[in-house]
């Protein structure tokens, strides 16, 4: 996160140094700053900025695809006269711990195909998810973990 702010600052600095702030100059500065931040080693070891950015891009692409699929599937369900839904409410034990992780996880679950986050448990260890097309709890938990939670934690940590 701090690295991203540094990246924006470097882009601004590059454009200001060139004398006129246009979108082309800002874009060039951003690319150069990205390369710098991804290549330079920090005092803790090699920089993780490149892999981190790649994980964020993968998360955004996956979630965007999920939102599209969710809408197509729910649209089919609503528009055809017969209802095939088999709703259920499952408890999902999550690995996310901090506030930001839990918030983002519930946000993504609400937009993911056929699922809707209903409640976070009191001890913040589990969320309750309303599923539109239910199978079993184990299958659902495994799918959610592999498709959403592991990419999310990889992008955040």
């Amino acid at each position: 996160m701090t690295a991203f702010l540094w990246n924006l600052m470097l882009a601004l600095l590059w454009a200001a140094m060139l004398g006129n702030v246009t979108s082309e100059n800002l874009l060039t500065g951003f690319v150069i700053g990205f390369a710098l931040l991804a290549l330079i080693d920090t005092q803790h070891g090699p920089s993780r900025y490149g892999t981190q950015a790649w994980n964020v891009v993968r998360l955004v692409a996956g979630v965007g695809w999920d939102v599209l699929v969710a809408n197509v599937r729910v649209a089919y369900e609503i528009a055809t006269p017969k209802l095939h839904t088999r709703p259920a409410i499952y408890r999902y034990d999550m690995e996310a711990r901090t506030d930001a992780e839990i918030t983002l996880l519930t946000l993504i679950v609400t937009f993911a195909p056929g699922t809707l986050a209903l409640e976070v448990s009191e001890d913040r260890k589990a969320i309750y998810v309303h599923v539109m097309f239910a199978t079993t709890r184990e299958a659902f938990c495994q799918e959610l973990r592999e498709r959403v939670e592991i990419p999310l934690l990889r992008a955040l940590r």
Partner: protein, 123 residues
């Protein structure tokens, strides 16, 4: 080309809004209605704002549309979560074909709300 993309975004957004209304109309219980309302309407408003930004072609409109899409996509899950909690506390019945309910074991649905009141009805 720009007009074509605008038209596609408009048609998709209007269809999604229509689906959100239809889902609200014919789904059997509150939680299934929330599915349609939360997903379809937020994506529909996002697409329509995108169409307006592209069709009007103004930088300030693009910025405002981006801001609006962000707001809608952040606010909708929060509203959904709070509505669901209120519904559970009020004991809204689930559809009879809901075949498993883990939340019920956690705290019983329709459990009457017990405000912590003193003997005189004061806190």
């Amino acid at each position: 080309m720009k007009e074509l993309i605008t038209a596609v975004l408009l048609v998709l957004g209007a269809l999604l809004m229509l689906l959100a209304g239809l889902g609200l109309f014919r789904m059997p219980d509150l939680f299934l209605r929330l599915h349609g309302a939360a997903k379809a309407s937020s994506l529909g408003v996002g697409l329509l704002l995108g169409a307006a930004a592209l069709g009007l072609g103004d930088v300030s409109v693009v910025a405002r549309a981006a801001l609006g899409v962000t707001f809608v996509f952040v606010m909708t899950p929060v509203a959904t979560l709070l509505i669901a909690q209120a519904a559970f506390r009020a004991g809204i019945p689930l559809w009879e074909r809901t075949h498993q309910n883990d939340l019920e074991e956690h705290h019983p649905a329709g459990g009457p709300y017990e405000p912590r009141l003193g003997p005189d009805g004061e806190e």
